[in-house]
Symmetry: C2
Subunit: 693 residues, 2 copies
């Protein structure tokens, strides 16, 4: 469970995450212009009360530190000033500490022998402690308390507002005139060495060499003015005394840097690589070197896009998007298993009420958010988080339910972005989309489950009922016998003729099709080349997952090698936002009507990490937090493979070739499933077993 | 109208007000402990887009300044960096500027020959400008824009976040040992002169000498440590180099300061008086010197409590409370006529959605807020503000309507503070209180009127219908023929036996009683000494207003002299939170179970300012913004009186004795009403007239 047992900095859940998210989301630039998100950005509560009832067997001295002005009330009596040390006498006490901070989230650290700030403290943003004329407090205030939020700031000096990613000096691997090549996609702060003279320096960044050397179209750039020993960043107007090295103030994504000087010179370009230290707990190796390389580039893509949060891409948008993040979470469970990162991103995406639009304005992204919360519970077993997030889930579901039509289905209303995917053919976004209803149903199931897990059975039953009602209509509304598929949408009560892969593959993944229709749809849609091909790794993720669930690992292996291998052949050093094998040369760099608009490092590009861990090594939790799990390995045409999958209790190692399977697990109740479930073998904890095939 | 015609700093309406309000509301201390409000405190939107479409006849250079990071988009194209000057070519342009600021409200100042930031600019906190794969912007984003908020920051240097009240050095008028007397209630920063030695200095503040010299019970105090030339404020841990003078870091309310030193000495105590410069546009003089003194002390009480906002009291609570503020607004219309202060306070009280409790947690205070918005329009004629605030009014009314019972009436639910008044006898707060329903009905009428004024006729009609439904039930539910009065409340469908003045006097003020019942209630309740006497100036305000509306100016004059004169006789130098003529000595200082808990400078103490202006000078608007108004003077037993009442067009001067009335008005369509409406005389604009009686 997520309860912490040492003192740690605490805050109102979501407050720190939203505040840090604002820093993240507002750092994007577009050709030297500040470029913020277009959705509502929220803030922390400026005054938060932290409270805890304690019972001490002996006197205890507490160290106290807060981010903000604060007061301390012990047993209802306020102390003078903002003491950094207090002594509590043995016995029962009620501690109430209010912290106020407009600029950064109110946060608290208390450390005594037994009294320590952790997730067992309560927090509220309004204690409603009014008194009557006699000074008596009200007994009807009905204050709502939440369990405190926290991360890993376990030392008193680690003030949450001071958190920074780490930095490491990296050098260019090659230079071609004024163009510096850092060898692969990277992220950080350009460093200019040995600036001399007075004049201007223009810095053009490129994920490709083409971009860095196209000063009129590259997506990111910097302009400096050097004058009498002072460097001015012309984008921000910030000035710095000239020294041996000048480090740019904002980070950028690039592989290449092109530097143009006028009136001054420099001796070289270096960089401070900026990163979140993430341990790769998940591993994968096999006999196929191309596949190994795909796994490695996928892992590196995840390293680059896993920052303060799971972001979409490092050049663009440098924002947190729910659909993208949901995939990052899933890959994360097979790579870093960084639960805090999932929770932090989930809080940021939710923001704060009132809800004025879907998450990131996208209808589908709201639904992915719901599903991701339940997924998180499945992989982590963290019920504490469910308690914190459930009220927010309800608020979002109220928003969604307030936007349904007479059939109880969601349709894009003004202000709703119905996204689905970047498809290579116009897609009708009007009326009832089968894809959206399927995600909606799954969201209702997710919130129903969370409601029940947090002791809200009645609400849970009501949500489940709505899910079932919607489920009953899905086939009736969208199934088309002629096409043997779910059609794309229904407009004015009439099915359209369009068939896309999206609703059909999600219906498979969520188990909304019976056995027979699963097979039908596999052939009529998923394996049917006449149905529009998917060219984003984003939706290929789900398409290939659906096939894996139908035991088509051999076919999927071929697809992985074709598609991700295809990007490698095009020179990718991280995976892309979109890849159409028919596009080559500079054409493949373009998107959104801009020659270098495409992101060449996009988290959703890394899906082989997930597919290989879950459907080849075959490891997945079947009860929350891997209390129970299965290992159902599939070589998919490989000669051998081995790897580890992280779990809350440690890791699960799997090695397989055509003759045998070896499994070693650090805990949990595991079942090794072989021969399509005909051979099920219990996996012992802490002991390696090898099974002959 | 409120439209500005010069460049001024603009922001999202409410943002600056809420941010500044947080600074105000979080400065209260209680015996050296930080003491914040117990309701939710909100924040500004951290990213705001400002936009304007312009059409220039010639090229124009714009100066641009923002509080925060910003970008500039001209005709859809973003400019590099954060330019402080741009030139627009002649012709049509669309200007979009996004400003991001986490700590202080995003604010913008643009100044060109014709293009200037003012209230005609649009603002939004989410522009929902998503694009499709081709780069095309969505046409269904349905962004909601608001007209910009502004104040009087008309110079580019006047950054809104830097706003400070003014300061003026004041000296003590007397000293008695270590107790310094500043001669009257005041507010500001204590200054210690000539500190020498090493040791501690304790500073005890008192609105009374008793309080300042009672170090164990005074409500506010400071403690300093002086050590080797450094002064440490022990409440905040802030350190300052010792100089000739040491100015305390936080302001306090006091008349007396008692200084206790140990190990060090000082040569004297002075103060920096802190104030909002407010011109007293309203005046009143008469033959009765006691009444003149009451008016002056009332005006001084308003000077002290009119700060960044209209606050309740300067010692306690130093917070903005809606019921208190509503009275400050009304007094303000007859004294300062500072419309910006009314608007700013109204925004702060509203805060931001989601609404998690009544305003200040008090049900009645939500209703006063509604009514104050319409009052503001009546006195100012400012329709621009109605456009900005109407959406917020709707949000609050939704909240209220969501908390009504099966009769459509409001009852105190968990979390609702049903306040009414500090009464000297227990008051049942359960069930349907007549007082609350009357305020609720008036609120529905207020929002109905504002809806219609802002072009939302259909919504307006719906609110009016609800008001009428509630109105129809009032007499049926609460009128008691035996008591000839509205009873206090109704519990489980049954009238209680209690009769209080509150519902009866509000029913008179709002015109909810017919002529006959008005007279009945006047005698059976208002003039009936068996009904519990009111001992707060807060509710005496309305009680006396009701009597004035029934032409009882003679009786009210006697009450004013008895009650407010009574406070003067007790030594008041500003008016108090509560005054019970039966209490004397230190007893009169106590409240909330604390010996000096009572505030001796409370805005709601100043009601004679309003009563004398509106019901003796007799000036009141009858159409919004004094477009039409009446002057119906009443001597109420005085020999003569004269005074001015501010109006949007300037002022209205009235002088009266038993022989004649003189009126001079700067504008509007005025009617002088004499002899109970039997003589109505048109008041010319700009020309003094004298009418013989």
């Amino acid at each position: 469970m997520a309860t912490t047992y040492k003192a740690t900095w605490i805050w109102y859940p979501g407050d720190y995450e939203i505040w840090l998210g604002n820093k993240m989301n507002n750092r994007r630039t577009d050709r030297g212009a500040y470029f913020p998100p277009f959705w509502k950005q929220d803030s922390h509560y400026v005054t938060v009360e932290f409270s805890k009832a304690v019972d001490l067997t002996e006197d205890e001295e507490l160290k106290i530190e807060a981010e903000g002005s604060y007061n301390i009330k012990i047993d209802g009596k306020m102390l003078f000033g903002m003491p950094k040390k207090i002594t509590l006498a043995a016995g029962k006490h009620r501690i109430n500490i209010k912290v106020h901070n407009q600029c950064t989230p109110p946060a608290l650290y208390v450390d005594g022998k037994t009294v320590k700030t952790d997730s067992t403290w309560n927090v509220t943003f309004e204690d409603k402690e009014w008194i009557d004329e006699s000074g008596k407090a009200s007994d009807t205030s009905s204050t709502v308390y939440m369990p405190a939020g926290f991360y890993n700031f376990d030392n008193i000096e680690q003030r949450p507002s001071q958190f920074k990613l780490e930095r490491e000096r990296h050098e260019a691997v090659a230079a071609d005139g004024n163009v510096y090549d850092f060898g692969k996609e990277t992220f950080g702060y350009a460093i200019l060495k040995g600036i001399k003279g007075n004049g201007t320096i223009n810095i053009y960044y490129g994920e490709s060499k083409e971009e860095a050397t196209d000063k009129y179209h590259c997506e990111t750039l910097d302009k400096l003015e050097v004058c009498n020993g002072v460097v001015t960043d012309l984008a921000t107007n910030q000035t710095t005394e000239l020294a041996d090295e000048y480090v740019l103030g904002n980070s950028k994504a690039f592989r290449f840097i092109c530097v143009e000087t006028e009136g001054c010179s420099l001796s070289g370009v270096s960089m401070d690589y900026e990163f979140m230290p993430e341990e790769e707990k998940g591993t994968f190796r096999c006999n196929d070197e191309e596949l190994n390389r795909i796994w490695e580039i996928g892992a590196y893509t995840m390293q680059l896009t896993t920052r303060e949060f799971f972001i979409d891409g490092i050049k663009r948008d440098r924002w947190v998007w729910s659909g993208d993040a949901t995939q990052s979470y899933l890959m994360n469970y097979y790579l870093f298993n960084d639960n805090d990162m999932v929770k932090r991103t989930t809080w940021l995406l939710a923001g704060k009420a009132p809800i004025t639009s879907h998450i990131n304005t996208i209808m589908d992204y709201t639904f992915f958010w719901f599903n991701s919360v339940y997924d998180y519970y499945l992989y982590s077993g963290d019920r504490h988080f469910l308690t914190q997030i459930y009220p927010t889930m309800k608020t979002y579901m109220d928003y969604v339910l307030g936007r349904t039509d007479e059939d109880g289905m969601v349709e894009g209303m003004d202000g709703d972005w119905v996204f689905v995917d970047w498809a290579d053919k116009p897609m009708d976004k009007h009326g009832q989309l089968a894809f959206e209803q399927i995600l909606f149903r799954k969201s209702l199931e997710a919130i129903a489950a969370v409601a029940k897990l947090t002791g809200n059975d009645e609400e849970g039953n009501a949500y489940q009922e709505k899910a079932d009602e919607l489920g009953n209509k899905l086939m009736q509304f969208f199934w088309n016998d002629d096409k043997q598929a779910l059609v794309h949408n229904r407009l004015n009560g009439k099915q359209s003729e369009d068939v896309f892969r999206y609703p059909n593959m999600f219906a498979i993944i969520f188990g909304y099709l019976d056995e027979k229709r699963q097979q039908t749809v596999k052939n009529s849609v998923i394996l049917n080349e006449d149905v529009l091909r998917i060219t984003t790794p984003y939706m290929r993720f789900y398409e290939l997952e659906a096939l894996c669930m139908l035991n088509e690992q051999d076919k999927v292996m071929k697809e992985i090698k074709d598609y991700w291998g295809g990007m490698l052949k095009e020179g990718a050093t991280s995976f892309w936002e979109k890849y159409n094998p028919d596009e080559h040369g500079t054409e493949k760099l373009a998107m959104y009507g801009r020659p270098y608009g495409k992101s060449l490092c996009h988290a959703w590009g890394a899906s082989p990490i997930y597919l290989l861990g879950k459907y080849y090594l075959g490891v997945k939790p079947t009860k929350p937090g891997y209390e129970e799990y299965t290992v159902e390995p599939a070589l998919g045409g490989l000669e051998w493979m081995e790897g580890t999958v992280p779990a809350p209790f440690g890791s699960i190692y799997v090695k397989m070739d055509s003759n045998s399977v070896t499994v070693k697990s650090d805990g949990g109740h595991g079942t090794l499933i072989l021969e399509n479930g005909k051979r099920n073998i219990e996996i012992p904890s802490g002991k390696e077993i090898t099974i002959k095939l």
